[in-house]
């Protein structure tokens, strides 16, 4: 029992919780928990306060954002009305901005925090280094990314007019 106590002192519960959280993210589906450590090493956390803008439509995208806690709204400028319309809300466990991982193109929407939100950022350069240093993880992420993009494309096509 004492030995277990020592382990609870040595182990950082916060990190273990983060690893558990990453296991639930669709982008990392299929990556073993032990390998997720390398993914966690590549992520950068940051907290956004309510109302803070994460990026604006037209900004060059360089990172993908995973929502750890809180809520993010994605809005887009409607060409007809010239008004910002909320197109989606991103909840814990979901992610957005994945286009930045494929090409450094202008963002297609604005993202802002609806409440105090903690996000993990995955930068393109970190993902690329993961592809080369840990190809096993890289292949899984690339395949998941392709599946997700395909699903989003399908959703656009199948959307009723």
């Amino acid at each position: 029992m004492r030995l277990l106590d020592i382990f609870t002192h040595i182990y950082d519960e916060e990190i273990l919780a983060k690893l558990g959280f990453l296991k639930t993210i669709r982008l990392f589906e299929g990556i073993r928990k032990r390998q997720l450590i390398h993914v966690l090493e590549s992520l950068q956390p940051r907290t956004y306060l309510k109302g803070e803008t994460i990026f604006t439509q037209g900004d060059i995208g360089r990172a993908l954002f995973i929502v750890f806690s809180g809520k993010i709204a994605l809005s887009r400028l409607a060409p007809a009305t010239r008004k910002n319309e909320v197109i989606a809300e991103v909840n814990p466990g979901e992610f957005f901005g994945e286009m930045a991982l494929l090409e450094e193109m202008p963002r297609t929407a604005t993202a802002y925090a609806l409440e105090e939100t903690r996000v993990f950022m995955l930068f393109k350069i970190k993902l690329e280094s993961l592809f080369f240093s840990r190809p096993q993880i890289g292949v899984i992420i690339a395949a998941q990314l392709a599946k997700i993009m395909s699903a989003r494309l399908r959703a656009i096509i199948e959307k009723p007019e």
Partner: protein, 359 residues
């Protein structure tokens, strides 16, 4: 109109505090640059060691425990290493102490003979007074060694400061990050990740390279039965931190020692071949493998950086010149890219377009 003017005034006012803090920091650095030096060294050391701590941290072990464990293990290894080295070196140093006067005399004699021959063939060289200059140089050697002594205090101060920097982790960085304007976080982190990727790879690469060269030199010179092989190998290892210097220093020092020890040119040729081999091995195998992900610097730029470093900061300037050049190169590259993308210097990149629809 008034509201617009007030808004503009507020816009300028928001930069007042950061500008004031920035200026104060620069002024402080200028005033206390000598006191800051151990902190710069410690920060560099902490930056190099940090991945080892992160390795354990992301595996769930608390950072403070990881740092303590690393210090205990590194301390024990260092103690053992130094103990063995002192044991090994003490005999070498003792023998050097005994043989140095005769070596010095032989070096001086060699120079005198050389000078006499050269002056005989080329009388113009008499005005250069090579022998006088050389005796000055020999006298200056102990003085140079004495100037290195204050650097020894760094050996105690730097690990101490590094410990607290490592234990504190990314606390300061996280604080700064949390207080940056939210919209700029992505770009700032993008720049930081790029500098970190290239500089980190360079520093870790050059340390591995220096260690491998030290091992090869040590075993090679020991096998050639050269005296003071451990001392020379350490010298080569340290000088390998500066590009191109390691093998050159090794070849020169080993050749002198070999000449004094064997009084023949055959071992010198063997040594020169050995160091040429090291140079090629370094260029063809070690560097392409270790440094493949680091910043690629043109040899001319390296030379310029080394010379500028020496002029600005002496021996420490030389040591820091290449990492600083790496940072400058990466920043310049990012700046050009940003000019092109953010300020529309170049037309917007066209997204990939495919005519066949999704099926």
């Amino acid at each position: 109109m008034t509201t617009k003017a007030t808004e503009q005034k507020n816009n300028y006012l928001q930069f007042l505090l950061p500008a004031f803090i920035g200026l104060a920091v620069v002024y402080f650095i200028v005033l206390a640059k000598n006191a800051l030096f151990p902190f710069i060294l410690s920060a560099a050391l902490a930056y190099i060691i940090n991945p080892a701590i992160t390795y354990f941290e992301v595996r769930g072990i608390k950072r403070s425990y990881a740092v303590i464990a690393l210090y205990v293990v590194a301390g024990a290894t260092l103690f053992l290493g130094v103990y063995l080295l002192v044991q090994f070196l003490s005999t070498e140093l003792q023998s050097l102490q005994q043989t140095w006067p005769s070596y010095a005399e032989r070096i001086q004699q060699f120079i005198l003979n050389l000078n006499a021959k050269m002056v005989k063939n080329y009388p113009l060289l008499e005005s250069v007074k090579l022998n006088e200059k050389f005796s000055h140089l020999l006298e200056a050697v102990p003085q140079v060694i004495l100037t290195l002594l204050p650097a020894l205090t760094l050996l105690f101060v730097v690990p101490f400061i590094t410990f607290f920097m490592l234990a504190g982790g990314s606390g300061i960085m996280d604080y700064l990050l949390d207080h940056l304007p939210a919209r700029n976080v992505e770009i700032v982190l993008h720049i930081a990740s790029r500098i970190d990727a290239s500089l980190g790879n360079y520093l870790r690469g050059i340390l591995t390279e220096a260690f491998v060269i030290f091992l090869i030199a040590f075993f090679g010179l020991t096998m050639m039965e050269l005296n003071y092989s451990a001392v020379i190998a350490i010298l080569i290892g340290i000088s390998s931190l500066v590009p191109y210097l390691g093998a050159m220093v090794g070849a020169v020092v080993s050749s002198i020692v070999a000449y004094l020890q064997f009084s023949s040119f055959v071992p010198i040729i063997r040594i020169l071949l050995f160091f040429t081999g090291i140079r090629f091995f370094d260029d063809w195998f070690l560097q392409p493998y270790i440094m493949k992900k680091a910043v690629q610097l043109n040899p001319a730029i390296i030379l310029l950086a080394l010379m500028a470093g020496a002029e600005l900061g002496g021996i420490w300037g030389v040591l820091f010149s290449i990492p600083v050049t790496c940072i400058i190169k990466e920043i310049l590259q990012i700046a050009v890219e940003l000019q092109e993308t953010e300020f529309r210097w170049k037309p917007k990149p066209e997204p990939t377009r495919i005519s066949i629809p999704y099926t």
